[in-house]
């Protein structure tokens, strides 16, 4: 099985939780390595990178040890999926995590089933990215927007927009059917992630900001209040 080959590194200082997650992940077939602090994890990662890292923010004495670890991991690999799993629920932490290039940010009060769902969603997305899409869908052009699906590249007014995977799939989903309102669930499905409502909002904010960097007039993503978002062609 492919899953057997997938190796997840779980960096969590709370042993009980770590082992509970490990048990659950192993039960559905992943290989799990447990690390209780940053140093151990880092030592292992420099030898061999796992297929995915699930990291707690606070690691023993290091209040933001997880963030440091994430930063190092991103230097080691641009594409390694990283999920933060933490008891902290402040937006600041979440924004910091996503800014560091984490693919997801989960609080410990989500159920283990959701964690499993996200893990598998992340792996599925990697699979999907590896598989080339049908030839006529490779490039999506919507006015100033151009998306290369195969190479996961986004251009606005012919300038590249650097988006995370999640952000890329959100933009893709919205731009594919301009004018249609995509609600949060649809966007989550498209991004192959399970996020809570506020996280979608955060993603949309960050997407807008990235486009606004290139074009201060950028206004293509409209909020449909209470319902979701839509792509508007100028």
């Amino acid at each position: 099985m492919i899953k057997q080959q997938l190796h997840i590194a779980l960096v969590e200082d709370e042993i009980n939780i770590a082992e509970n997650y490990r048990d659950a992940l192993q039960r559905i077939g992943y290989r799990v390595s447990l690390f209780y602090n940053r140093q151990d994890a880092l030592a292992a990662f420099t030898l061999a990178l796992p297929d995915m890292a699930i990291i707690d923010v606070g690691l023993q004495d290091e209040y933001e040890g997880g963030f440091d670890l994430c930063r190092t991991l991103r230097q080691l690999s641009e594409t390694l999926p990283i999920i933060f799993l933490t008891a902290r629920s402040s937006e600041l932490d979440e924004i910091s995590a996503l800014r560091l290039g984490a693919d997801d940010y989960l609080t410990k009060d989500v159920s283990i089933h959701q964690v499993l769902a996200r893990v598998s969603a992340l792996f599925r997305r990697i699979q999907a990215l590896k598989k080339p899409q049908s030839a006529d869908e490779q490039v999506l052009s919507r006015g100033s927007l151009r998306i290369n699906i195969e190479r996961i590249e986004t251009y606005w007014q012919e300038q590249p927009v650097i988006l995370t995977l999640t952000e890329f799939w959100i933009v893709h989903t919205l731009a594919k059917h301009p004018g249609q309102v995509k609600n949060r669930d649809q966007l989550m499905d498209a991004a192959h992630v399970v996020l809570d409502n506020n996280t979608i909002t955060t993603h949309i904010k960050r997407i807008r900001k990235k486009f606004s960097h290139i074009d201060s007039e950028f206004n293509a993503i409209k909020t449909a209040y209470g319902m979701g978002y839509r792509w508007v062609m100028e």
């Binding site: 709370e14 009980n16 939780i17 509970n20 997650y21 048990d23 659950a24 039960r27 008891a87 902290r88 629920s89 402040s90 937006e91 600041l92 924004i95 609080t107 410990k108 009060d109 159920s111 283990i112 089933h113 909002t201 904010k205 909020t223 449909a224 209040y225 209470g226 319902m227």
Partner: protein, 691 residues
Amino acid sequence: MGHGVIIHFSLKTQLLLVASLMLLLPWAGCQSVSVLETSLRQSHSQLLDVKMTAAAQQIERKLNQSQYPNLNTNQGNYYAPLTDSKMLLDGFDGEESDWENITTPWFQLNTYNYVAGLSTEAKPSTTVKFKLAANDKLLYILIQTSALTPHYFNPMQPKKIADQLNIRSINNTGLISRWQINPQGSGRVEMHNMSKTMKTSRDAGTWLWRDGHYNIEIAIPINLASNAIGFDLVLNDQQQNQHFKSKPATTYERSLVREQWALNQQLANYIQPGLSLYLLNSQYWLVGQLNAEQVTDDSLENDDIQEEPSWLMHTIYNKLFTSDSLPYWREPTSLGRWRSPQQLEQTAWYQDSPINKQLNSKVIIVNGQQFYVVAVQDSRQSLLSASDALNQLLILLFTIIAVIVTGLFAFASSLSWRIVQMKKHYRAAIDSDGKIMAVPAASRLPDELGDLSRVMQQLTINQGKYTDYLATLADKLSHELKTPVAVIRTSLENMELSNLDPEATKYLTRAMQGTNRLSQTLNALSEANRLEQSLEYAQWQIVPLDDMLEELTEAYRQVYNSYQFQLKYDNNLEYAINLAPELIVQLLDKLISNAVDFSPVNDAIVFTLTKQDKQLKLTIENQGPHFSSDNISQLFDSMVSIRQQSETPHLGLGLHIVKLISDFHHGNINAKNLSGDKGVIFELLLPIENK
């Protein structure tokens, strides 16, 4: 609890009131000056009394020596004031005549040959009056009749009836003189001396018939009439040979009392500024006088150049030092006679403007007759000397008081200002929820207020720490509890994945439910804190609120499909407003979730958007049960729930979040019960221009 009406009584006012006690000082000053003035007045009275006693004795002696005529005034007498000028006997009195400046009474001449049996209508209506004035040579007489037809003496027909005037006079030595005037026409007349065997004539004066009546102005030597004089005017107007006489008898003269130059000279010996002297006979006729005004004019003008205090100062002094019980002064003499004899024989003070007067009278006996020497003294002298000192005292006192009061007021103002500033700072520092925005700087001044300020600052810092601790307590608590809860939950979930027998599954499900509930509670606890953090990242934009609400109500209709959502607004208006839309959606979500929880199924939840001057007003109305009026004011406070116990945990944070977002927008949220037995309305006011 009802608010008691608190009358604001500022520190400044209080201090001003206390400072006004300083006004007691000038009052006390005035009191002491008043006492001084009273004693001055008494000593003045005594002084005057002593002087008067001496003067009265002197005058008495002088008059006795000078053989002042012994007048019989029992039957009434005539009075002639002193005229200092030689009068022109032109038959005129009134304005611009010699008589104008002489205050002398009119005397009546009566007709005594009244014939019984004449009807009343036939009574003569003619009246005759006369007045007198004298100097040391002549006695001037002005006789005036009412309107009549003149009958002049015709020397060609001496027997024919004609008007004539007879005069009898007696001098000091008892010599009786009789005179007769027979006018031959309007004009100059002669006077015949009837007492001498040889009939002599002399120029008498003028006998005028003017404007229908006689004006007779004549003069006789005073040394022939110094004791008594009488008139007998014979007229023939309505009745022939009608006599108008001084007395019915053939000796019709009456005593003549006159003001004498010699006596005035006597009195002039006692000349003194502000002193008027009057010498009265027993019938209170003025026989000699010395007026203060003359004195002032003559002697004071030279050496007393000092400025007269203004009438205002006088008025103030009089108000301060004159007791109201003093009677008002009025001119004591009228037409040569003392007005009120009861004033005499006593010493009294009178109030007058601008200066008070004191009156002192002494009785002297001259030739067995009673005379009064009356002195009227202006209190000007004493008052002036007192008032100079008083003036300075008052000015000094008022200056000191003004300085002290100003100083006190300024000091009070500065204290009050400091307190007000402190109040303002602390009011601004602590918002309505008791949250500390910024700790005001403490005063560095080394007084009690400075201490208070420093203590207040310390208290505020402590309170701030405590508030922060309280605010983060829930978050910390939830954070600390999350890990053990996660341990429990992940364990349970793992257990769920392993094969359990049905009995164990039952308990597992219960444990899972309990854990979920605990989890939700912990989330809710940290939600407000999370929101406060996320406010920093809020994105402001200008949004047409009507369009936004249209989208939202549509979304709510889909989510809560068993409720009616209505949106009312005026289509013609612009509702563009600067706000953080994500937060406003969150606010509305909370309000709607609250409304849906309480409102009966299928009822309408009504949004009404209206535009006010500089803000938009959104009301959300539902038909849920009333809030109890007790807790309506704390509805938006944290951890206040007015719900019945329900399945989902409820910490009353929803409306607190609404309040946080509303405050963040500088808006205002409040809730009210609708009239009627149910229905509540939330009212949100948002400023259009924000930030």
